[in-house]
Amino acid sequence: MNADDVATPVAAAIARAHREEWARVIATTARRFGDLDIAEDAAAEAFAAAVERWPVDGVPARPGAWLTTTASRKAVDRIRRDIRRGSKHEEAERLRDDSAPGVDGPVQDDRLRLVFACCHPALAMEARVALTLRMVGGLTVPEIARAFLVQDSAMARRITRAKTKIATAGIPYRVPSAAELPDRVSGVLAVLFLVFNEGYLATGPDTDPVRQDLTAEAIRLTRLLRGLLPDNGEVAGLLALMLLIEARRAARVSAGGELVALGDQDRTAWDGALIEEGHALVRERLATGRPAGRYQLLAAINAVHTSAPRADTTDWWQIVALYDQLVRLDPSPVVVLNRAVAVAELDGPEVALAILDRLRDILAGYHAYHATRADLLRRLGRDRDARTAYGTAIELAGNTAEVAYLARRRDQLG
């Protein structure tokens, strides 16, 4: 047996442990020592120890337990060092007090406390995103910096500042009470959806139009959250929504790097397994008979789209009805705009254009408003107006594949 035969399965075991256990190791260590910074360092050291020890000693029977124990030991070592240096008196207290602080209500998975701390509303959205990807997702600081096109040092500062605020301002490691839970869960889902969207419609002239690393990470974290909150309808809804969007990824960008509109996509290129999983989640929520939230409605809309074998068999009546429900829940201009797209299919472009005219002032800076308007004008044969609208949309769009699509559409006008 040569070295590679040993190294490869061990390396795979370490990679899998990192994917599956990182959040748990951080969460347990953070709860025990009450400090995210210590937990992060200890977890990183524990994984470094695994890289060193596992090829020699073999992969432990329970890798997660091995890593958590090792991380705890590393944390204790660090706190002892800090005490010897005469700093951090508080942490000396923690070493003596081995009981779990902040245990309130039924025992919850530590990872859930971690998610709620990282997505706390007292942190800026960009800090929540960075912290969640680092602490829950296990991405490295350079990976997160690359994902959001900022310098490593700037991203490191952002994460450090957020950790300091959690520790200093007393952001708790706690699963919110039942009364607070819906609001706080929607805060967590907003973070995950933002990560997904940045992958799904990546901005910037030099990035790939679709960043599969980010969409995959967002789906993985949403799956994790679903495991922790299995009865939460909006968590299930967001997961279904992501799966049904992700299922169309291969058909969404042409070989030439151009965005392909939903109606023009090759539906045989859609991922049937992801669609089936997404549909099952939507059905599960419908079966509860409980009123659907925003993500569940968006998932249901996508379920209708992905149920149609051809674009011209889409049940637009159903889609408009779902958008009507969504508008009642969230009457924001972007939702009204998306509803208008469906209305155009059901009642014709003229009716949709009248809806868009009422949104003109609010959405003047939004590329999708002008892209939608351009398409409606084109269908009405108003080529000159369409050309102007495509031009505005191209100026405002940040995604390379979308710009390519809009430019071709404009150039095809008579």
Binding site: G102, A122, T168, A169, G170, I171, P172, R174, P176, E180
Partner: protein, 107 residues
């Protein structure tokens, strides 16, 4: 933990009678619930005096240390187990005194 809840004010109008009544009732509740440490209202910034004796030669200046449109009009020092509780109290405080509230932890 202890938190400083700063009352952020803009303009030259004083608190209204209704606001004073609401704040007094809120203060009694803070005392009953064990959150109360200290609180007070402050004079306008134009009543401030800055003293600088860093180099042993005291200089006294009339006016606030920094001129801003928004300024500190009063504060609470409250005891709360964590930021969630402090934010909940700040949410109530903001309603009662009808001003924005900044929450900061004591070290």
């Amino acid at each position: 933990m202890q938190y400083l809840l700063s009352v952020i004010h803009e303009g030259t109008d004083l608190g209204t009678e209704e606001e004073l009544v609401a704040v007094s009732a809120f203060n009694r509740r803070l005392q009953a619930d064990g959150h109360w440490v200290f609180a007070g209202g402050l004079g306008f910034p134009d009543t401030a005096t800055v003293v600088d004796n860093r180099d042993g030669r005291p200089v006294v200046t009339d006016g606030p240390f920094v001129e801003t449109k928004e300024f500190l009009a009063g504060f609470w020092v409250l005891e709360a187990p964590d930021l969630d509780v402090a934010l909940r109290l700040a949410t109530e405080a903001s309603r009662h005194c009808n001003r924005k509230i900044e929450v900061r932890p004591f070290l």
